[in-house]
Symmetry: C2
Subunit: 449 residues, 2 copies
């Protein structure tokens, strides 16, 4: 399973502090499992790998097979939690150039995201690559009124209906939404779209293993049974309340200790470009869960070795506010050997016969020690292989660590009150009925400078 | 030209502090232009838009036309400054799905990067998409011995020679390197590759407007004359030493004042997915220039509105260590209107007839005011349009602001001593001759935990 190593952070934490966290960690564990803490109506994810609806899961697989059979492209319309988890899984497990492969090699539809921004340029460009292709849509929104996905769905539903007619479009639109309420549920029922349910007790950033993520992930050909099995086994492994035995809780505790000792920014690092989107998912998970009441570690990411040549100087010598969490894989999916060169013009013949993975691992080890020497604690999260099973475990590992970590920090890790401020301003400025006074106030401020 | 507005940061800076910076800014200006400050042997970029080699520039355009004519793919081999600036320009100006467009629509080669990581998976996957295509290579390295690009060049040079023979490969390999020294220069001269020069007095992160960036940028069809003209006009505009008139210096000063007043993290924000890579270039520019001696703002990026649904909560309510610098474009390249919907099931008919760009701008205005209210100062950098000309200006604006900013901070903005630490460790662990003792020491530490 997942191996966690905080030995390269120990010297940054007073020796007795870890021990002193045993009790708070135990209390956080109890709050999660007895549902007695803040946000306790959003704990559906804790037992989800065991309690999910098996009939719906089968229906997801059937829908995925249908989409694969009749589509060149799947458009996934969603934002935040309805986007980042899926993107994380697709990038983590699929071919690095998935959409660029010939269809005959890929055997599954291209997958594009939309409704995750308001850029007219992106939208117009996206329609260019859809030209002449058979498109299916999976729109994901609890309410159906979140501005970004709602605009995108309005546009692409219209686009699809104009291409193939309203009747045929009904067979190409798949809706993931609330089980009974909201604008999107109402529309889906009226039109007869096939629907999947976003559980009431699972927030967006915890939803990747629900239909939110599972349908598009399955369309790409990933084994969602293995994904859920990995999460199920992780759930079992991280049930033990004792921090000495629970590496998930050790991660939660360690990052809080580092935070209490002045480390305000956590960099999720990997040496595989495919893992970057996983770090984006992790940024939402922790940033949105903990960034409140003026508190919380600022989550950022780095992709090494690329970013060693851009952010490496800062990490080594800049403000000492960083720590790193490195995601590493024991066995790579593929490897390539470095060949000898007769002229040895680049002086790299000392690497001849070695594999790229060997070089990548030595870069990781050397970097970790250099950064630790520079005052940057390193936490290591290692998985055996980059498979669907281990990704399922990783999702669960970080979800649970986040719940524990938020409780240790003293916040409600399952709400997001701060995201309303900009939404209200935006709707007011856009002239939504009912916001007239706020609109006038904001416009005065914008003119005043 | 570029419009800079710090009115939404003023309340975070004591009133007299900006005035007190007039003299230090003037001194920094003098250090840059009289070359009297630290790092003064790396100031070639200051006058580069005026002093670059016109004959070489023409040769770049000819080489680009040749590559366009005989290649389906250009492989760009480089890392750090030999990668991020090019990527920034390609993404900023080209089609959002450039590589995915049919060749007949794109009319220029696919462009892929390699040598910017050590991932065997990425490398193996890249060879999959090269299958059956005519490939040219532009390898970019001052020394030719930086491990990542050197390994990639070794592999793909061999790959190309096996495909088309050593003789034909000579016509497909373009080398950007030192004018006279180094392993890559030597090899290029021996093999007769066409070469372009990385100037001695311009560091990697300042090199995008040299052949380092210009060749691959030109291959993608971008007008590099316009790019250089934008930089040239920016050079002229930001020659004035008075901070009252020089918005480039105002940006440099404001971010230092925010830093001195407790803002330790700068988020470069945009509302266009195409600008993300520009922010990655900016991260290297500022992070590597200022992150030293335990000092420097930590640079990070956000792509709105996507990241409002992930990092929005943190920005609004988390630790108050952030400020934002928003890059915005007055007129979008393309726009899309929102249509009315008879049923108005999503309740968005109040937006009918409005354009996406209008909605995007209101999201930006509303978000800015919400974040300012939440304690996050906002700086605004606005360009009229996302054209090559304005991108050239932006590159120069930030390069010069970075030089001024680094001098205000009291560091040498043109060196990067911290990147040696991990490199030495890596080479030692890889068994490079001469590192035997260091290797033994590191291995003891790795075993010890």
């Amino acid at each position: 399973m997942i191996h966690f190593d905080y030995s390269h952070a120990r010297s940054f934490i007073p020796a007795d502090e870890m021990k002193q966290l045993a009790q708070p960690v135990f209390r956080a564990h109890e709050m999660l499992h007895k549902k007695t803490g803040p946000g306790n109506d959003f704990l559906g994810w804790v037992d989800w790998p065991m309690t999910y609806d098996v009939a719906e899961f089968d229906r997801i697989k059937q829908a995925a097979a249908r989409i694969q059979a009749h589509s060149d492209v799947l458009l996934v319309i969603g934002i935040g939690g309805s986007y980042l988890g899926t993107k994380a899984a697709l990038d983590f497990l699929n071919h690095s150039f998935y959409n660029l492969l010939p269809a005959s090699k890929r055997n599954t539809p291209e997958i594009h995201f939309v409704g995750n921004n308001i850029s007219p340029v992106y939208l117009a460009h996206l329609t260019d690559v859809l030209e002449g292709k058979r498109v299916s849509i999976n729109v994901i929104s609890k309410s159906g009124t979140t501005v970004e996905p709602a605009i995108a769905f309005r546009l692409f539903r219209d686009w699809l209906e104009q291409k193939i007619g309203r009747e045929a479009a009904r067979e190409r639109i798949y809706v993931t939404t609330d089980k009974s309420r909201g604008a999107l549920r109402k529309l889906a029922d009226e039109e007869g779209y096939e629907t999947f349910v976003i559980p009431d007790d699972i927030g967006g950033r915890y939803s990747v293993l629900t239909p939110v993520g599972l349908l598009p992930i399955a369309v790409s050909g990933i084994d969602i049974d293995a994904l859920m099995q990995g999460a199920l086994d992780a759930r079992m492994e991280y049930l033990v309340p004792d921090i000495q035995e629970n590496v998930c809780y050790q991660y939660a505790a360690t990052r809080n200790l580092l935070y209490n000792n002045g480390k305000q920014v956590e960099l999720m690092v990997s040496y595989e470009p495919r893992f970057r989107s996983f770090a984006e998912w992790w940024k939402q998970l922790f940033g949105e869960s903990e960034g409140k009441e003026g508190k919380g570690i600022f989550p950022a990411l780095a992709e090494f070795s690329a970013d060693l040549h851009s952010m490496g100087q800062y990490i080594q010598d800049g403000q000492r506010l960083l720590f790193e969490t490195v995601i590493t894989v024991k066995s790579p999916a593929l490897d390539v050997n470095i060949q000898p060169d007769v002229a040895d013009s680049d002086g790299l013949n000392f690497l001849a016969g070695k594999s790229m993975d060997y070089v990548n691992k030595k870069a990781y080890e050397g970097t970790m020690l250099a950064h630790v020497d520079g005052g940057v604690p390193n936490l290591i999260v290692e998985i055996p292989e980059a498979t669907a099973y281990h990704l399922g475990s990783l999702f669960y590992f970080f979800e649970k660590a986040c719940g524990i970590s938020g409780y240790l920090l003293g916040v409600n890790p399952f709400d997001q009150p701060g995201v309303e401020a900009y939404k209200a301003n935006m709707l007011a400025l856009l002239g939504k009925p009912g916001y007239e006074l706020q609109k006038a106030e904001l416009e005065v401020r914008l003119r005043a400078k």
